[in-house]
């Protein structure tokens, strides 16, 4: 579904991704771990189409389409979803209006009729229950004044609304309390199917207890330097990154 080959990206002449290779197939869960500043968020931004970063080499295809050639909105409509590490506050844009616009733009792309107001509200109610999000939050402006955890829950709510084929969750577990972590993980698990896939970017084993990955990758200095099964996450939790850094430097 997603094939990344030798991907290089830079910002202001600083190369941050230095040759990423990764393949994700339907039904799989991949975890990406790695020290701070190694390029995890950059990779997700580049995949989602943030023009801040310049792709200077390599390719990425999504369901056979050249991903890098699509606008951010078309990538989303094709089924790519990014849960932001730092969701943006947008005062003045109501959650309801935002989500209705997003859902209906997806539907238009799929050549379906837009949802009526009542159909939309019904969908919203359903998905709100799924992620146990407080009703008041959806009556406010997008992320405005939301707590850190509420913002993360809101990302998962949006994911539930848009039903993506590939979700990239960038540290969605950071800042969540224990109950919220369980809710978010349950939400992700309920949305899992043999057709869709998930990339989890995380620093902690804890999330991976709930959402069990098929593969764990370590990103270091803009490259994936190690890939293995779920046991790698346990090893990292115990030993930290030093041994990998050392292996890499050698």
């Amino acid at each position: 579904m997603l094939v990344i080959k030798d991907l290089h990206a830079k910002i202001e002449d600083k190369e941050i991704l230095r040759g990423i290779n990764l393949e994700v197939k339907p039904g799989e869960v991949h975890a990406i771990m790695g020290p701070n500043g190694s390029g995890k968020s950059t990779l997700s931004s580049v995949l989602a189409g943030n023009e801040k970063f310049e792709v200077c080499e390599g390719s990425a295809s999504f369901h056979g389409k050249d991903l890098l050639d699509l606008s951010p909105e078309d990538r989303a409509r094709e089924g790519l979803f990014l849960s932001f590490q730092y969701p943006v506050e947008i005062p003045g844009v109501s959650m309801v209006n935002f989500m209705r616009t997003a859902v209906n733009e997806h539907r238009k792309y799929q050549e379906k009729d837009p949802f009526s107001a009542s159909e939309f509200l019904k969908l919203m109610r359903e998905k709100k229950k799924l992620v146990e999000i407080d009703s008041n939050l959806t009556n406010r402006s997008v992320n405005e004044g939301f707590s850190g955890g509420e913002k993360k829950k809101n990302e998962i709510f949006q994911m539930a609304m848009l039903e993506p084929k590939l979700a990239i969750l960038d540290e969605t577990d950071s800042g969540l309390d224990i109950d919220a972590l369980r809710v978010v993980a349950n939400g992700v698990n309920k949305l899992k199917s043999p057709e869709n896939a998930t990339i989890l970017i995380t620093h902690y084993q804890r999330l991976l207890d709930y959402i069990v990955p098929d593969y764990v990758h370590v990103l270091y200095k803009g490259r994936i330097v190690k890939s293995a099964g779920k046991e790698l996450a346990h090893e990292l939790e115990e030993k930290g990154y030093d041994w990998i850094k050392k292996e890499f430097e050698d």
Binding site: E51, A76, F84, V88, I90, G92, V93, T101, E105
Partner: protein, 462 residues
Amino acid sequence: MNVACRIIDLQEEYIKLFNDQLPLLQSGAPEKMNSLREQAIKIFKDKGIPTNKVEDYKYTNLQPYFKGNLNLAFTNESAHNDVTQHFHCEVPQLKTYNVFLVNGWFSAKESDLNLPDGVVVCSIRDAAEQHADVLEKYYGKTAPMEKDAMVAMNTAFAQDGAFIYVPKGVVLEKPIQLVNIMTGSEDRLAFQRNLIVADENSQLKVMLCDHTMSPQKFVVNSVTEVFANESSVFDVYNLQNQHNLTTQVAGIYVHQKRNSNILTNNLTLHSGITRNNIRVTMDDENCESHVYGLYLSDKNQHVDNFTFIDHAKPHCESFELFKGVMDDSATAAFTGRVLVQKDAQQTNAYQSNNNLLLTQNAKINSKPQLEIYADDVKCSHGATVGQLDDEAMFYLRARGISQEESRVLLMFAFAYEVIEKIRVEPLKEQIRGLVEKRFRGEFDKCDSCVVCGQSGSGVSCL
């Protein structure tokens, strides 16, 4: 009677016009209006139409717009234009008392306005007979002609306008809507002079809706004086929707008495050159004023809001918020003068002006001007100029919302705060829709009624 003039040297020709037409200017106009003309023309002669050398008009040189071939109507035949019969200006779900003015002349009101007892809505000319005392007491008292040449010019030349009087204790539920229409097949200069008096404990909302109905060049100099007496509540919404060849100098001068609460909101949705003078004099204790504005401009449009809040007495509060979105080569200016006089202790004055520039060529000059002579005051002011937020833009697009739609959402998000200040629910709803349409480029800018969105004479955009 219509007079066509060729204005090249401004003062000379305007003074000559005044002298030649004085008999007509005076004919049928209230005594009170006539009594100020000579003094007004002297001030006007002395000051002249402001250029940007005049400090208060620094960002708008008005002289070029008052030159050229312009027609003036010195009698009210143009008011009998049948345009008002075809023109309905309605807000869904909102009942108003509807009154028309054509080229500055009071034209018609619905045959039966059914106003509550004692409420008067008529031509200021007609007010001379039955309400001479009100006219005598208030006319010319709050618009400072000695300070502003445009007020002086208006006082010298204006012959008509609306007169609104709401007596003690009367609460008008429905807003009074003054629909100002500029029309005709000649380029035209028009004056209009409105006087609004809300007496003790009364409540009144006024909508001023400015339209152009034909593609000619229009120059308008209007002055509206408002007196909000003790414990009255007064709102005025000025909805400006005129084509690009319009120059409008619109002054709203509000005088407040004890415990009164006033709101002005200038919504400049489309215009050519607009200069709004908004002055609020808080001449008694415990007054509250809300002074708002939203200006949306593109192409070569220019909007200049000049506000002056005069805290003359203690324990008053003012809230001021102006926001602007400028596209293409549009320019705008905001001046926020706040004067807190020596005795005005325990004043609270808040001001902010925020601007969104969509292109490199769009421009804004924002100038707060605080003069504080009392010591126990709380004043704040802030001005910002920014572009659309890239991060927010990416966030919206990453959810599948197109770039264009994301822009509209963000522009609307920027503007909505001013719209939310509207204290008439159906009007708020209508303005929301119109602003959104304007941002989408779907707004039929030149010929539709700002309030109901209906098409007019099929004029194309200039």
